[in-house]
Amino acid sequence: MTAAIEVRDLHKSFGDTEVLKGIDFTVAEGEVVCVIGPSGSGKSTLLRCVNRLEEPTSGTVLVEGVDITDPEVDLDAVRSRIGMVFQSFNLFPHMNVLDNLCLAQRRVLKRSRAEAEATAQSNLEKVGLADKAAAFPAHLSGGQQQRVAIARALSMDPDMMLFDEPTSALDPELVGDVLDVMRRLAAEGMTMMVVTHEMGFAREVGDKLVFMDEGVILEEGDPREVLANPQHERTQKFLSKVL
């Protein structure tokens, strides 16, 4: 079976700074992989290379067996199958929640208005915000905005979801609602790659935990195992600070 995401010898430099120094890893279908590590370790860059929001310098990224670093690949088609959730939500502020969810369904998937709105409404119910369809993003709390952003990504019926520190910009009391939504998504079998600082979530929901530092993967394995028994000295140091 082809992996959902397979990264081989991935390098990424910004100018003279090498941020990713040869990354190899895979996410199997239905797997939840959490990526942790200190800031500047390259974990967000890695995630952003998976849908080519960042252009890899070298190496290959296979999404469902398709090499997305191939210049001939239909990137928009690949991206429409990969949901992405950002730290800063990035809802479209000039549209209400329903239109946020319908825009790409209509433009990319060419769904009819009725079909798009039905999908949008069912995804809003899924994230517990069915009553906010007409609201504008500015009138929602951060936690609600992030749940709308998740619903927007889900409305494209993606095969997998990428989360880039989805709870880092939230007030602590709002984090739980977002994690609940992600937990339910994982339970439904969604393939997920999550860059996070939420160790509790990683331990409880993750199938695999990846620890990155200075552009390389230092350790990966069962989350409970890695968190309880870190092998590498730098992993131990990092975990002692965040746990």
Binding site: V78, S80, N90, L91, F92, L103, A104, A138
Partner: protein, 261 residues
């Protein structure tokens, strides 16, 4: 002396100075000359309502045409300036810097006289048509910079969100970037509109036919005819009637954007 007393004295002195100044102006002023030269009822009745139906109307028509066409041209220039292809960027930059660096009057004279004489070109709409085209060409250069700044002020995360949903660069531009950019540039564009409205007073150097005079031209010609400045006063009031609501609108819009952030 106590600090608060000193402050009260200082303020008192400033008020006294102001009152004294105003009183002196009122006393010195030749009220009879001011009234008869700037506020003459008979002269006013001679130019009313033509000053509105010809002067103000033409001012608004010239401004509207120059602004609308200029905005379209500005939009093309802004997109060129953001193009990934270097020659397009160079071309747009050259255009913008060239026309922003010149006095509007030079460009109007070039369009109205130099080009017609050199190439036998007959401008559509006559000399004033040439002048309006000059205003279009110049205002587009200014508005292109405004639009470019507006487009670039849309947060990068917005584009990333749209692209990550699989939207093409074109659709991202049309449905995500431009609507937000337009909101950002509405206040500066309104300012451009006001500047353009005032610049239409330069059209008269091209020479216009009967019925084509804009507000300033109408007023200055009437001033010569009646040897009286009342038409100028009327024109000034009419300009303010148009521009003040617009500048107030800008202030309101700016307050609203501040609140939304």
């Amino acid at each position: 002396m106590r600090r608060s007393t000193r402050r009260r004295l200082r303020h008192g002195a400033l008020y006294a100075l102001l009152l004294g100044g105003v009183a002196a102006l009122v006393l010195i002023a030749d009220w009879a000359a001011i009234t008869s030269n700037f506020f003459d009822r008979d002269v006013f009745e001679k130019i009313w309502p033509e000053i509105v139906f010809e002067g103000a109307r033409n001012t608004i028509v010239y401004t509207a045409i120059a602004f609308t066409v200029g905005l379209v041209l500005a939009f093309v220039l802004a997109l060129m300036k953001l193009s990934p292809l270097a020659p397009y960027r160079w071309l747009a930059t050259a255009y913008i810097e060239f026309f922003r660096g010149l006095p509007v009057l030079i460009v109007i004279i070039a369009f109205a006289f130099a080009v017609p004489i050199a190439f036998g070109w007959i401008p559509p709409g006559g000399p004033r048509g040439a002048a309006v085209m000059a205003l279009i060409v110049v205002s587009a250069a200014y508005m292109a910079e405004t639009l470019r700044a507006g487009i670039q002020a849309v947060p990068k995360g917005q584009i990333e969100a749209a692209r990550s949903l699989g939207m093409s660069p074109t659709w991202t531009m049309i449905s995500v970037v431009i609507p937000q950019a337009l909101r950002i540039v509405t206040p500066p564009l309104t300012n451009e509109f006001v500047l353009l409205l005032k610049d239409t007073s330069l059209i008269q150097v091209a020479g216009v036919f009967v019925g084509q005079k804009e507000l300033t031209n109408f007023a200055s010609d009437s001033l010569s005819i009646y040897s009286n400045a009342t038409p100028l006063t009327a024109a000034a009031v009419l300009y303010l009637v148009i521009t003040l609501p617009l500048t107030q609108l800008v202030a309101y819009l700016e307050r609203r954007t501040q609140k939304a952030r």
